[in-house]
């Protein structure tokens, strides 16, 4: 069964109340056509996981502006004034997570780990509500895994089995979200035949990918 689908087939996956992980860092490496579909779908009460809320007119930021995001789990909101405004009015819940911890939480979710101990955030407000564990005299926070219902990824090239390669700074959270989501949709700049990608250069194995759309 072919994984290559139309944008409409991809959009049909969106439902209210989903947890959606979206690749990208300040919208670089974000699948904008899939975000278009998410905005147009009108589905609501979403929890969005991503590095940041980018800009009002790009990437995840558009889901903040549209009001579809009820909650965002991100490391940074400073480039999108609407995120801060909606957080202050109480219309948007914002969970700020240190970037390395966010990456590791997604990886833990995707790798079947129950959590991990990190020194990051000890002694700061990040430790509120978390278990602190001391080993060999060093304090660590126990951080818990993150998973998503759907991941929306941007790839440079996908082969027809869903093997992915990324380009330059676009990789960021994409490969981690491929592991951490139950259903993985990829927007690829180019779709190539099976065998065209060097197995040693593949970053995300096709086994993790459910649908591929052409950017």
């Amino acid at each position: 069964m072919s994984k290559i689908k139309t944008l409409e087939e991809a959009y049909a996956q969106f439902k209210d109340n989903q947890v959606i992980a979206i690749g990208g860092f300040l919208a670089v490496g974000t699948p904008e056509a899939l975000v278009d579909g998410l905005v147009n779908s009108g589905v609501t009460n979403l929890t969005i996981i991503g590095n940041d809320t980018s800009y009002v007119d790009r990437g995840i930021g558009r889901l903040v502006v549209s009001g579809q995001a009820a909650k965002v789990i991100v490391s940074h909101i400073g480039t999108n004034k609407e995120t801060g405004r909606l957080m202050h009015t109480g219309e948007l819940q914002v969970e700020l997570v240190p970037q390395g911890t966010l990456a590791e939480r997604l990886r833990a979710g995707g790798a079947g780990l129950g959590g991990f101990l990190t020194p990051t955030g000890v002694g700061t407000i990040v430790e509120e509500g978390k278990q602190k564990i001391t080993l060999n005299g060093i304090d660590y926070l126990l951080e818990l895994p993150l998973k998503a219902d759907i991941a929306l990824l941007k790839a440079y090239k996908a082969d027809k089995l869903g093997n992915l390669v990324y380009r330059n700074a676009t990789r960021n959270f994409n490969p981690l979200m491929a592991l951490a989501a139950d259903f993985v949709i990829v927007e690829a700049e180019e779709i190539v035949e099976v065998g065209e990608l060097d197995p040693d250069a593949v970053v995300t194995p096709g086994a993790l990918v459910d649908m591929i759309v052409k950017a």
Binding site: G112, G195, P199, D200, P205, A207, L208
Partner: protein, 218 residues
């Protein structure tokens, strides 16, 4: 003996669905690859670091860099993907592997599995087995029904050190196919010519006998 093993692995191969990612253990489980129905596409993972195990190379065509987790020379199919051991076990532990097929020394009514150590005799190490059985969506045990001495391997309680607790889903032997359920081990299929009485007599655990029992096709 060869027929016994072939019967087992042929049946195991029928569990897979199109698009499945499967990890086959060393020994008899590896033979399952030869019987996957051609109409479905199953990807095989080698936990030493790739997806896309292909056929054994022709003699003289072996590639020193391309072996399976048992150290045997294999090939990588077009569309394969290589990764490091952390990613390999992220796939395994994270539930991305649809099924793993392994042998067993003992299995019990609670789905407990012992297949890595016989204290004082055989201490090879667990390799990837503990992660595989905890992480894979379905754990399929492919083994001969009784051990070399004719003693049962499907027990009320495992006696050997465990590989994991409550992980086994299916047991396929030359006598039949059994499914692990909350209530215990249900007999689903019998090999041709094998009776309920015979398989139960060779099994320490009490098998649950449903109204309908299928035939394990040859």
């Amino acid at each position: 003996m060869a027929d016994t093993r072939e019967r087992i692995v042929k049946r195991v191969a029928k569990f897979f669905k199109d698009g499945d990612l499967v990890n086959l253990g060393i020994g008899m489980p590896t033979m399952v690859a030869n019987f996957i129905p051609p109409e479905i596409n199953v990807m095989l993972q080698s936990e030493n670091g790739f997806i896309g195990i292909g056929p054994s190379p022709e003699p003289g065509m072996e590639d020193k860099d391309t072996v399976n987790a048992g150290g045997a020379f294999v090939t990588i199919l077009p569309g394969g993907a290589c990764f490091d051991s952390a990613m390999s076990f992220a796939l395994i532990r994270g539930g991305h592997v649809d099924a793993t097929v392994l042998g067993a020394l003992e299995v019990d009514e609670k789905g407990n599995l012992a297949n890595w150590i016989v204290p004082g005799k055989m201490v090879p190490g667990m390799g990837g087995a503990m992660d595989l059985v905890v992480g894979a969506k379905q754990v399929i045990i492919a083994m001969e029904h009784n051990n070399k001495n004719g003693a049962p391997k499907i027990l009320k309680n495992c006696t050997l050190p465990l590989t994991a607790l409550g992980v086994v889903k299916w047991i396929v032997t030359e006598l039949g196919v059994m499914e692990m359920t909350c209530d215990g081990i249900v007999l689903r299929e019998l090999a041709p010519g094998v009776t309920v009485e015979e398989i139960q007599s060779k099994t320490e655990a009490t098998l649950i006998i449903p109204d309908v029992i299928g035939t394990m096709e040859d």
